[in-house]
């Protein structure tokens, strides 16, 4: 510490709104992000990790393919890999801008900060899984088993992240512990403006192709400036086709953006492939 008393800051002084973009055209599906995430966040390894529905990961590498689509014959089958973590929904209701999971938690174990990160207090969670039911992105996972760290794995545990107990719901927090660590480092240097702090989550820093970008959605200099992403024809957000309406039907887009029933995620995917963009955002209607 510099010895000077830090001026009192209100929480509302936070000007950052953390977000992420993932370029699927650059993503090779190597899984480095998933491994880095698990290592960084002390994810346990279980005897049978092929048991996907029970596996505990914050970042799931999902395989997306047009294999089941009509007309996708041999040669036309396409595959993409989708790094999917907590979408850090912002909510869309101006009076009550909660992500779907936050307002349902009976014990305030999860909340959204003014930096846009949806938190999860593992020691507060009672494991009711109501947040898991409410999440449209399947981003929350339940710890079914007591975490076990085999052999020397225990020595590699990250001291900045608590080891989650059995029976709690866990999820990605954009590695907010790194942000807190960086913030402490800045304060130690005498810089008390929290808006001066930047950080990179472990999945982004481990990506070998630079497909993942992280930054402030409100900062025009940021690689994930929201206004720029909105104008990007390659940008798409999961499950909702609302972003497509912006150019095709601006009136409907404005109407939908004012409706509460849109989680408004802060993770954007970028792809030039038409099939993939359609696959990510549109449910085939009969």
């Amino acid at each position: 510490m510099s010895g000077q008393e830090a001026p009192k800051k209100k929480v509302s002084d936070m000007k950052r709104l953390w977000g992420m973009s993932i370029d699927l055209d650059k993503c090779t599906g190597c899984g480095a992000c998933q491994v880095a995430c698990s290592q960084e966040n002390n994810m346990p390894i279980f005897e049978d990790d092929s048991d996907l529905p029970k596996r505990v990961v914050f970042l799931d590498l999902m395989k997306v393919t047009n294999e089941m689509d009509k007309g996708a014959k041999f040669g036309d089958v396409k595959v993409a890999y989708l790094p999917k973590m907590c979408m850090q929904c912002a909510g869309n209701d101006p009076d009550n801008p909660y992500p779907p999971c936050v307002s349902v938690c009976p014990v305030v174990a999860t909340d959204i900060g003014d930096d846009g990160v949806v938190s999860q207090i593992w020691s507060r969670c009672i494991g009711c899984r109501y947040c898991q039911a409410s999440c449209p992105y399947e981003a929350r996972v339940f710890h079914w088993w007591k975490p076990v760290y085999e052999g020397s794995f225990k020595e590699g545990l990250n001291p900045d992240v608590s080891v989650s107990s059995r029976g709690a719901v866990v999820k990605c927090t954009f590695c907010s512990h790194i942000w807190k660590r960086e913030r402490d480092r800045m304060i130690a240097k005498g810089i008390t403006d929290i808006n001066a702090v930047q950080y990179t989550p472990s999945c982004v820093s481990s990506c070998p192709t630079g497909a993942m970008k992280f930054g402030d959605l409100k900062d025009p200099r940021s690689p994930v400036y929201e206004e720029k992403l909105r104008r990007d024809p390659r940008a798409v957000r999961l499950v909702h086709s609302i972003d497509e309406l912006r150019d095709t039907n601006p009136a409907e887009y404005d109407r939908r953006m004012k409706i509460k029933q849109f989680p408004n995620p802060k993770v954007w995917y970028l792809t030039g492939s038409e099939w993939l963009r359609k696959k990510l955002s549109v449910f085939e209607k009969s």
Partner: protein, 416 residues
């Protein structure tokens, strides 16, 4: 000790062969409930082999069903004590006991469902209440309303054992029971108020607020659940005493009582069906399209159309039977109406949970299939078995049906 064993043996031998078989089954299920309860509470939910695809177990369907059907207690109490429908008086003790057990087991099942049972009290200590009077989380409201209403049911239940001939001979208990009984209308009013909220919350509001999920979201779900509880709950409050009467071969309550409640239930089922049809319509044209989905497509997989159609068809039976005097007076039709009514409301809860969890969240995923694990089955069935045993015990040893003890009708055979 020897005398006690002799007493138990005599008691056991006094039961018919069929009752003894039924008791074997019920005790067996209760024992399995205890075994799996120990496993889950001590070693965790991992051993149930549940998974993140169907994160909530079979017991949540039981939970929602018990609350909805137990909700008949609040509605019957409201009719008797507030609206003064005195004809319902012979059924009120049974109603209170059923309500009490439904709520007790709702709590018990909720404790099984949470991953951290030792933190169950966090709901009271750190409620997600927000700054205003209305709670933010529906589950917070459920926990508080259930607790308070359960307290009300305890107060309503206490006078029943106090009316037992041994207790009644002790002046303190007699007066205590008497004055508690005098408070009943206040309890009924408080109970109605509390039950109104938690019926809505646990039955519908809990799912209706999940705005990220097109399969669940609709703002009126809260009120739909209240109507469901008044319709299905009243049918349940008739069905159980009716079965008890058949087993005991006695008329546990006057036929007029059953018919009065049947008429009310029939009207409530009409309201429920209209509301449910509006619900399906609004989902199809308004709420599901908001999430870029089609309701017809959501009704796929194993738990799609047939569940909704079965629910609607089952709903029609009590509507026809209870609202047509000729039909409801005939015992067979009347029983069919009761069973169909209870099944319809239970089916609506099955639809909410199974259907809700099986619908894919991503376009590249299919519908999820659900197979309840052995623990889920036996915790669920064991709960029902314990409730049945408690009800049987009350019916045999306590004045659960005052009509039986008033003489005259008590020894008569049940209406057939």
């Amino acid at each position: 000790m020897k005398n006690f064993i002799e007493l138990l043996r005599n008691e056991w031998n006094s039961y018919s062969k069929n009752t003894q078989i039924a008791l074997y089954v019920l005790f067996g299920l209760s024992a399995l409930f205890v075994i799996f309860a120990i496993q889950i509470l001590f070693w965790g939910l991992g051993y149930t082999d549940m998974n993140n695809n169907f994160a909530m177990g079979l017991w949540i369907i039981g939970d929602l069903g018990l609350v909805a059907l137990g909700g008949g207690a609040f509605f019957t109490g409201f009719l008797l004590y507030i609206l003064r429908v005195d004809k319902l008086n012979p059924l009120i003790n049974s109603t209170v006991l059923l309500g009490f057990m439904c709520y007790l087991f709702t709590f018990i099942l909720l404790v099984f469902d949470i991953g951290q049972p030792l933190r169950a009290w966090f709901g009271y200590a750190y409620p997600n209440w927000g700054p205003g009077l209305l709670p933010i989380s529906m589950l917070t409201e459920v926990v508080w309303c259930l607790t308070l209403y359960f307290c009300v049911l305890c107060v309503e239940l206490i006078p029943i054992p106090l009316k037992h001939k041994i207790m009644d001979n002790i002046p303190f208990f007699r007066y205590f029971g008497h004055y508690l009984h005098k408070l009943m209308w206040i309890m009924a009013a408080v109970g109605t108020f509390l039950s109104f909220f938690h019926q809505g919350s646990l039955g519908g509001g809990m799912w209706g607020v999940l705005y990220g999920k097109p399969v669940w979201f609709r703002p009126h779900y809260f009120f739909l659940a209240i109507v469901a509880a008044t319709a299905g709950g009243t049918a349940f409050m008739m069905l159980i005493p009716k079965i008890a009467g058949k087993i005991m071969k006695k008329e546990v309550a006057p036929k007029e009582t059953f018919m009065t409640l049947a008429r009310i239930s029939g009207v409530m089922f009409v309201f429920y069906l209209i509301f449910r049809l509006y619900d399906l319509y609004s989902l199809t044209v308004k709420y599901v399209p908001l999430a870029d989905r089609s309701y017809a497509d959501i009704l796929g997989g194993y738990y799609g159309w047939w569940v909704v159609i079965a629910e609607l068809l089952l709903c029609l039976v009590p509507i026809v039977v209870f609202n047509v005097a000729k039909l409801r007076e005939r015992e067979k039709y009347y029983m069919a109406g009761l069973i169909a009514g209870v099944s319809a409301i239970s089916m609506s809860k099955v639809e909410a949970v199974l259907h809700g969890f099986s619908v894919p969240n991503f376009p590249w995923k299919g519908f999820t299939v659900y197979n309840p694990t052995i623990q889920e089955w036996f915790i669920f069935l064991g709960s029902l078995a314990i409730m049945t045993l408690v009800y049987m015990w009350f019916a045999r040893y306590l004045p659960l049906f005052p009509h039986l003890h008033k003489g005259g009708h008590g020894d008569n055979k049940a209406h057939t």
